[in-house]
Symmetry: D2
Amino acid sequence: MKIRVYYEDVDAGGICYHSKYLNFCERARSELFFSQKTSPIQDDYHFVVKHIDADFLAPAVFGDEVTVSTTILEFKGASLTMLQEIKNEKDGLLFQMKVLLVCLKGTTIAKIPETYKIILIKDA
Amino acid sequence: MKIRVYYEDVDAGGICYHSKYLNFCERARSELFFSQKTSPIQDDYHFVVKHIDADFLAPAVFGDEVTVSTTILEFKGASLTMLQEIKNEKDGLLFQMKVLLVCLKGTTIAKIPETYKIILIKDA
Amino acid sequence: MKIRVYYEDVDAGGICYHSKYLNFCERARSELFFSQKTSPIQDDYHFVVKHIDADFLAPAVFGDEVTVSTTILEFKGASLTMLQEIKNEKDGLLFQMKVLLVCLKGTTIAKIPETYKIILIKDA
Amino acid sequence: MKIRVYYEDVDAGGICYHSKYLNFCERARSELFFSQKTSPIQDDYHFVVKHIDADFLAPAVFGDEVTVSTTILEFKGASLTMLQEIKNEKDGLLFQMKVLLVCLKGTTIAKIPETYKIILIKDA
């Protein structure tokens, strides 16, 4: 998934604001669903972020087109660990994070539905 | 209402990103309710922005503490026009906008409840 | 230009936060330059928003793919007026604004360079 | 430091968007400087985020007033590790992260100036 770095993403230091990389990763996770004409919110099921371990290796700058790649590291009953990486052409790897997502139905922890698993495995 | 301009608000040009002034104004509108221990969302009633006419006069910069002032220009049955101004100490008036808000109950246009009017008139 | 509405764009009311439409319009303006392998910031030249007159007609929701179209209404020496419209497939026109942009070189108002005009006329 | 959760902070799920907690922590770090009438950017010195390890324990919701606390865990020559916690009154601890910050002068890694250390130790 390709994402452009716009004015709104860049901060006073002239580089991409640090928390925006998390947004870019979330867009890529949601796009796994949207690209298959479905949604990450179905029948009250959705994922929430529980833990993030992130390395900021090099900054993206205004106008950069970055690529977000997503790999599933582990499925558990109600949770999921992904590795997400952000790269640009010039500098290579800019950002990587391991993110633990928990599946909720409404506000209760719930087993990840098979339909979600199929979408996630197919795309990521 | 005082608002600080942080890293996240400032863009590649080193000045406050233009749409952030609208956010600051929305914070000030919501704070009219929060400061009176209530919420702008009550019994499904809430306001949506219908029209904005905005002048960007001078830029706020990183670290600025700006003041947002809100004046009610007109109440109609289901709508409301406000004048909101953003100033800093050094440059004076930075931004002003007239905003037309429409009251909804759920997704239907609704007469502004008296409780809302009282809060708005008292504070703004 | 197509833009997806993600989690980060949607607010407590379940619809796209009002100031995000301004961001989407800015992305479209910047993309006029990026799509031609150039940048809206060149030799210290760039545009700042001076005035906005915006109508919010219908809300975009989570997962919507909206289209931003940009038309140039008028060039003056150092300024430029555009009409920008945001649509989705289901509801048609969601948002429209007239935006007055002023060209700066550093922090001084400057005549719009011909190179900028050529890019803007070609694309918008 | 107290921060209100506004419309712009809350997402389609009705809770604070996950990366906003990082923004709130950054505001608190910057405010350590602003509250002492100085800036986190001085003579080209500033900090960038290098690593984050974050736990999302419970969600903040629209209208919440959260408190961000900052503790310095370790100073090294050019870097600094902080523990930052976000709480609200009703649920207690909502979010905690360890963040590794690196000091730059321009784009080069630099020893943290004593003036910075004094501000950070005094406030955090």
